[in-house]
C-alpha cells in the first residue's frame, strides 16, 4: 500500500449522503425531536451541525454556543453564527464562566496551574449543558469527534467525546476539511487551525507535535495493519514519531471503550453481553 494523500480521497457526495442518512435514520428511529450539539465555530462542530441540518432540517438542530472567559474568541463566535445562519440552525449562547469558577473555587485540591485538569472541567461542563438540553427537549446529542482525535485519544473522556451519535468519527481531520468544503462551509472555517480550546493559545497540531496531513497518513497506515517501520519509511519520518502516535492510539483505548470490569458472572456488561447498540 502506498501512503500518499490520495488514499484519503473519498467520493464526498457519497460520504455526505451516508452521513445524512445515518443521522436522519437514527433520529427517526429513536423518536427524538432533533439534535443538540456544541457549536464552537471550529471545523468539526460546524461540519457536524451542517450535516445534521441537511439531514433533518436546521430548525430541528440546536447549536449551543458555550464560550468561557479564558479562551473567548470573538471570531469563533462569529463563525458559529455564520454556520447557524447558513444552515438555519436554532442557537443559544450561554457563558459558562460562572459555572467554571464555581468548580475552581469549590474543589479543595484545585490547582490553577494544572491546565489539563482545568481544561477538562471545561469540556465536561459543556457536556452537562448539552445533555441538559437533550433531556429537557428530547433531543439527541450529536458528537463532533473526528477519527484523528478518536484514534489518538485527543479528547476529554466524558467531555467532548460524550454523545449519542458521532457522525463524522470515521473521517480523519483532513477528510473532514474536504467534506466541509464539499458541503459549502465557509472557507475561513474549513481552513483555520484546530484547537480544543481548553486553555488560551492551545493548538492541536502544536500539542500533538505533528501536522494533521502527516498524522492522518500514519493513522491510516496503522488502521490498515501496516508496521511502524514501513509507515516511517514511506513517509520519510523517524520511526520514533510513528511509534509515538501508535502508542497514543493503543494506550487510549480505555477512553473509547465501555467500562472495564473483571469477569465474574455468566454475562458481563462491556465484555460478552453483546447486544445491538440500538434495537430499532
Amino acid at each position: 500500500m502506498e501512503l500518499t494523500s490520495s488514499v484519503l480521497d473519498l467520493n464526498w457526495s457519497e460520504v455526505e449522503t451516508k452521513i445524512r442518512s445515518f443521522i436522519k435514520d437514527y433520529v427517526k428511529k429513536s423518536g427524538a425531536k432533533g439534535i443538540v450539539l456544541g457549536l464552537s465555530g471550529g471545523i468539526d462542530s460546524s461540519t457536524t451541525a451542517a450535516l445534521s441540518a441537511l439531514a433533518i432540517d436546521g430548525n430541528k438542530v440546536f447549536g449551543l454556543l458555550l464560550p468561557e472567559q479564558e479562551t473567548y474568541n470573538a471570531q469563533d463566535i462569529e463563525h458559529a453564527k455564520l454556520v447557524a445562519e447558513k444552515f438555519g440552525l436554532k442557537t443559544q449562547m450561554i457563558d459558562i464562566t460562572p459555572t467554571l469558577k464555581t468548580f475552581y473555587n469549590t474543589i479543595p485540591i484545585f490547582e490553577t496551574a494544572d491546565k489539563l485538569c482545568k481544561g477538562n472541567i471545561k469540556a465536561r461542563t459543556r457536556m452537562i449543558y448539552i445533555y441538559y438540553y437533550a433531556n429537557k427537549l428530547n433531543l439527541l446529542v450529536c458528537g463532533s469527534s473526528n477519527k484523528s482525535e478518536a484514534m489518538t485519544g485527543y479528547f476529554t473522556k466524558w467531555g467532548d467525546f460524550a454523545a449519542d451519535i458521532s457522525p463524522i468519527m470515521d473521517l480523519f481531520k483532513t477528510q473532514v476539511r474536504k467534506l466541509a468544503q464539499h458541503i459549502g462551509l465557509p472557507k475561513e472555517i474549513a481552513t483555520k487551525p484546530a484547537s480544543p480550546k481548553l486553555w488560551p493559545g492551545q493548538l492541536a497540531e502544536e500539542e500533538l507535535g505533528i501536522k494533521y496531513e502527516t498524522l492522518d497518513l500514519i493513522l491510516y497506515g496503522l488502521e490498515h495493519f501496516m508496521k511502524s517501520e514501513e509507515i516511517a519509511k514511506q513517509l520519510g519520518l523517524k520511526k520514533e514519531l510513528v511509534d509515538k502516535m501508535k502508542h497514543r492510539w493503543l494506550y487510549t483505548e480505555h477512553k473509547r471503550r465501555m467500562l472495564l470490569t473483571t469477569k465474574i458472572e455468566y454475562r458481563t456488561v462491556g465484555k460478552d453481553f453483546r447486544l445491538p447498540s440500538t434495537f430499532y
Partner: protein, 277 residues
Amino acid sequence: MREKFKVALAQISCKRGDKTENIRKIEDNVVRAKKQGAELVIFPELSVTGYVLRDQIYELAETIPGQATNILEKLAVKTGTYIVFGLPELSDKTQATIYNAAVLVGPDGLIGKYRKMYLPTHSVFEEKRYFRPGYQTAVFETELGKIGLIICYDVFFPEVSRLTRLKGAQLIVCISASPATRRAFFETLTVARAIENTAFLAYVNLVGIEDGLQFWGGSRLIGPNGRVLVKTKYDKEDLVIGEVNYADIRPIETFVPMLKDLRPELFDKLKENAEKL
C-alpha cells in the same frame, strides 16, 4: 416445468427483532409482486428478523418448520407463489445451535432450506460466533425449474455456486445483507458466478441502517451471459420484476462452454493445496 417466468426482487429493510412487522412487510411485497405477475419472490438474508442481532439471536431463532415458516408457507399456498426468505434457524435437536438459513416455500408448502456455508467473521461481521455453518448445498426441483440457494458471503467462494450448478440449478438465488463498503465486490462477484456457471443468478440485498451499517440494496437478476437484466435502486426499499427464460442458457452454454470445459481432476489439486495453505 416452466421455461419462462417472472421473478420479483423484494429489497426491504427490516425492523430488528420484530418478526411480526417484517412478516407483514414480506406479505405486502408478495401480494404486490404477484399482482405484477411474479411467480417467485425473493427477500434478503435474515429478512424475518433483521441482520445485526448479536445475543438477541438466541431469542429470535426458530426451527424450520416453525412459526415464521408456517405463516409464510400459508402465504405461498394462498397466493400460489414461490418465496425465498431468510431467518436464524434453531436446530431441532438442540437448544442454542443456530444456522443462518434461506427458506424456499411454494404453492404446495415448504420446499426446503439452505444453511449458509461461509460465515463472515472479520471486520464488522461476527457470524461464526453465532452460527454453525451448513455442510450441504441446496438445489430444489420445482415447477420453476431447479432452484439453488446460497447466502451472501457464499458468493465469494466459487465452489458453492459451482456445486449448486452441478447439481442442476439453472437459477441460483443469493440472498444477502451486504453493507455499502462491500458493494464493489458483490457487483463483480455476482456477475462472475452467473457467467462461470452459465446460470441465472438472482441477488437480493437488504437496505436500511442497522447499528451504523448501511446496507446498499442494488439487488439484481443476472443472465447466464453476465448481463444485469433488472436492478433495484441503491439504498432504498424497492420491488423490481425480471424475467427468467431458461432458453437463454443454451446459446451461451454452446459458445461460452464453461460447464463442458470443466476439469474435475483440478478439484483434487484444489483440495490438496487448500489443505496446505
